[in-house]
Amino acid sequence: MAHTVEFEHYLQGEFERRLRTDPAMMRFFSGDLLDGVWYWDLEHPEHEWMSPEFWRTLGFDPADKQHLASEWQDLIHPDDLATSIDNFQKHCADPSHPYDQVVRYRRADGSTAWIRCRGIAIRDEAGKPVRMLGTHSDITELRRYEEEHLRRERELRLILDSIPAYVYFKDGKNTILNLNRAAADAMKSTVEAVIGRPSEAFFPAEDAAAFLRDDLEVLGTGEPKLGIEEMHEGGEGEARLIRTDKFPLANERGEFDRLVAVATDITDLRQAEAALLVSQKQLAAIMDNAPALTYSKDRSGRFIQVNKRCADVIGVAEEDLVGRSHGEFFPPEISDTMTANDERVLETGEPLQCEEIGLVDGVPRSYLSTKFPLRDADGDIVAVGGVSTDVTDMLALRRELEEKNAELERFVYTASHDLKSPLVTILGFVGHLARDVEEGRTEELAFYASRIERAAQKMRSNVDDLLELSRLGRDRSEPCAVSIGDAVRDVLEAEASRIEALGIEVSVEIGADRVWCDPRHVTQVLENLIENALAYGSTAEAPTITVRADATAQGMVRLDVEDNGEGVDAKHADRVFELFERLSSSAEGTGVGLAIVRRVAQMYGGTAWVDPIPGGGAGFRLALPTGPAAGDERVS
């Protein structure tokens, strides 16, 4: 049968001719271009020719294989064999039904090859299929690439969906190209329902317009736009603050045609920040009003934070103190101790209680400090915190209390001793008296009686003086202006006969007359000092007593009572002011007078002391307050 066929191009005719006659071209198609060619005899279906490449593609040596259909039917996946047979039958029945499917073959090494298998039925003149010609294309690599691509897409989806932020991919026309589940949830929709739809479909027109403006800006500049803050309505209609970052994405030509927007709901964060700020302010207020110094220092000893009191005490503004160390404000002998304590806390990680000295206006003050480690989130010590309380006044009070207790103990001891002493005398002589009477002896009775009386008198004056001393603390009248000159004259008048008898010359020099005291106290002090001067100062050949009152630089009046007697040895200078202490057993008095003088001085915030007078004698001194300015006073 000869056909004359008209070809569109002379090369087409040549190509088809050569294809029929040139074995090289045939080899190119069946071997190099295709991964297998098969040719099946449908009239003897057990016979099928397979090209060598058919087997090599599946990893077999063509020499080991026979040209039987059973050879490939044993290797094809059973499911795919069924599909193939189905397609084959349909194709045989209807040539327009393609024989074309992807099937799986088991390779020689056991792995799976994905093969695209296509074929055409070759029919006889009656149209009955007699042969089947087919080709194999190995698409395993392509398949793997597709699978990898799908896997990556799934992963990307997973990542996107697990991001707590809202993520959108958009074009420059407000269309949402892709988004994560969080974003879809926020829009009360699904990912699938949103993809490809315009923002206007989900957001108010005004908001959508704002989105587009930002989108166009990012695409226009090619620069990310960060920290866009917008208010949006939340799920319950409440206002939510959303922060959005937008990043431009370039296509293969380097044009920015898409962008990704990452939006976060920062409403809670902002509220937490605001709450934190409030609580920080409250804490700062507590710290600033605490009576203690609070501070923290970094590992190199620089202040990180200080409260107001701490800054006030150091004398530097809080903000100027931060970043500087205590060594810049205190001399080494003070700051070295602080450093050592800080370092101990850093080393041991344990809180430390210690006493420290600080300087306030150049005056040392005692502090009780509690220092403790401050740790970061990992538990590493990054700073030392401290609370220091000024205990100077407390320590002074404690010392004062200890002194008072010791004084009270001394008082009880002395009082009991000195009250018991006359009792020994009284009972001793009463014993002698009784025995002499019993034995009829009378010559010493009067002597005993005089001793007994003297001891009883001594006891009475001891008791009186003790009562006077104890009253000093209890019965205090309101202080008022008292004239020292008048009080001195009164006392000297009362002692006039004794002064005359002893031949003592008394001089009074009043430079400052007014003091602000309980009037009885002034009288008691003067009585006791003048009596003391009469008792101890009258031993000189020409005895003198000088009473002087002068203003001091501290705004007090100093009272001096001086004699020219034996004087007081420096080693007894303090003892003479103690209860029942007398310098001479022969001198009169109970030994309470000077104790009263000192107690009065102490009641007015000072003390009483004794100085030696050049050339012999003792000068007893104390200071009394002058009180408020003249005019604002009640005169005694």
């Binding site: 001891y413 001793h417 000195d418 018991k420 002493s421 009792l423 020994v424 005398t425 009972l427 001793g428 002589f429 009463v430 014993g431 002698h432 001793r451 003297r454 001891a455 040895d569 007894h572 029942f580 202490e581 007398r582 310098l583 001479s584 057993s585 022969s586």
Partner: protein, 145 residues
């Protein structure tokens, strides 16, 4: 009295004239051939013991009776001085005081006092104490030399 009785010279350091008189009377009544010197304060006591003015001719006592509450120099200081002085520290010192305070006792024994007596308020007991004291030091006690 026992044949081994010695005559003991006491030095009484006592500021209270009446107490000194009571000790002296009790000793006289005991009729033991002991002697008693008395000084009235701590400084005078040291002058007596070191034979300084006005006690240049004073004899070294065998036993010292020491009151604690003394003017000028207190009894504790006198005791410390005696015990710190190699010439005087072999003389037995007996504290005789109205104080029963623990602080006084501890301090006195700390200064190596040889005995510590509290003056009884009661007359009979006072006399008895002085008698026992005399007997103890003149009959029973063996002196260092």
């Amino acid at each position: 009295m026992a044949s081994n009785q010695r005559s003991v010279s006491f030095l009484l350091i006592e500021d209270d004239d009446d107490h000194a008189d009571l000790v002296s009377r009790a000793m006289r009544e005991n009729r033991i051939a002991n002697s008693l010197d008395r000084v009235a304060d701590g400084e005078e006591a040291m002058a007596f013991l070191t034979r300084s003015a006005p006690h240049e001719g004073a004899a070294r006592p065998d036993v010292i009776l020491l009151d604690l509450k003394l003017p000028r120099m207190g009894g504790h200081e006198v005791l410390e001085k005696i015990k710190a002085d190699p010439e005087l520290n072999t003389i037995p010192v007996v504290v005789m005081t109205t104080s029963r305070a623990e602080s006084d006792r501890v301090k006195a024994y700390g200064s190596h006092v040889n005995s510590y007596l509290v003056k009884p308020v009661d007359f009979e007991r006072f006399s008895d104490m002085v008698r026992q004291l005399e007997l103890y030091w003149s009959v029973w006690n063996e002196p260092p030399a």
